[in-house]
């Protein structure tokens, strides 16, 4: 019962973060800031939803099968934790290599220009 409640809470929180990611994806100004919303809202929300499923699996202890499913879902969580930031980074990096100029704030600086200048000199 309590586990069910916690599971529902986790899944609902995950969906709220998904909403935040989706809204951010539409509202933010350029590729890089959109990746912030898409890459990270995604990570935490999928983690929360999968954790919710995992707890839901644990709710009745009548066999080993449920525990195995729980562990498998935890393994999926670890996989997401490991690969999601990497793919976000890979997309950012690829975008920069492809020459997409980041939109900067008023006094925001772009430290990466130093590598780019060096590159042009060569």
């Amino acid at each position: 019962m309590i586990l069910d409640l916690v599971a529902i809470l986790l899944i609902a929180a995950g969906l709220v973060f998904f909403l935040g990611a989706a809204v951010g994806l539409v509202r933010f100004p350029d590729f890089y800031t959109r990746m912030h919303a898409a890459g990270k809202g995604d990570t935490l929300s999928s983690l929360l939803v999968v954790l919710g499923f995992a707890l839901h699996e644990l709710r009745h202890f009548d066999g080993s099968a449920d525990v195995v499913v729980f562990l498998k879902l935890l393994a999926i969580c670890a996989f997401i934790m490991l690969t999601s930031p990497t793919s976000t980074h890979a997309l950012m990096d690829a975008g920069y290599e492809d020459g997409i100029e980041p939109v900067l704030g008023e006094d925001g600086e772009n430290a990466l220009t130093e590598t780019r200048n060096r590159r042009l000199k060569d």
């Binding site: 509202r27 912030h36 195995v68 393994a75 950012m92």
Partner: protein, 175 residues
């Protein structure tokens, strides 16, 4: 050799979690598969084989502690970005910049861990690592302030054994 056994054990645990069937036939298949994977790709994980096994286990313990802390940070700052995305005035606070900083971490795995921790905590994404220098895209100066080095200190503390090295490098111990 000891490391091969460790990798084999981790893979075997992973197999049992995947499989869920513990009869003799499937366990034998698991032993064969784990041995095969150990044979073809055990050189991929745990690059520094000279670190004693006990140090590895201490590192693994601290690593779990660090990951819990990281998870909490991720939740905290995700709430931040949620506010940013949903509040009507949030867009005015989006002032992106790309900052750089140098790290003192040595091994690839530590750098990887720091980079992915930065990417996981919202507001900042690692764009590039060139040598020791990190280039981080931050969604505003406020988030860039979070890179004050606390994360780096914590990671350094995880690996602060006599011989600095890589930790648990398979996610086999996911459970």
């Amino acid at each position: 050799m000891l490391y091969r056994l460790l990798i084999f054990a981790l893979l075997m645990v992973t197999w049992l979690v995947f499989s869920g069937l513990f009869d003799v036939f499937h366990t034998t298949l698991g032993v064969l598969s784990a041995a095969f994977v150990t044979w073809i790709s055990s050189d991929l994980v745990f690059e520094k084989r000279e670190i004693p096994m006990a140090a590895r286990f201490r590192q693994a313990g601290r690593m779990v502690h660090y990951l819990l802390w990281l998870l909490w940070q991720v939740v905290l700052s995700n709430i931040d970005i949620l506010k940013l995305a949903l509040s009507p005035s949030g867009l005015s606070r989006v002032q992106p910049c790309i900052v750089k900083f140098d790290t003192t971490l040595k091994t690839d795995f530590e750098k990887f861990l720091l980079a992915n921790s930065i990417t996981l905590t919202p507001g900042t994404i690692t764009v590039k690592i060139l040598g020791d220098r990190y280039y981080v895209h931050a969604i505003s100066e406020h988030f860039a302030g979070g890179l004050d080095g606390e994360m780096e200190r914590r990671i350094a503390a995880v690996f602060a054994d006599p011989a600095p090295a890589k930790p648990e490098a398979t996610e086999g111990g996911t459970d």
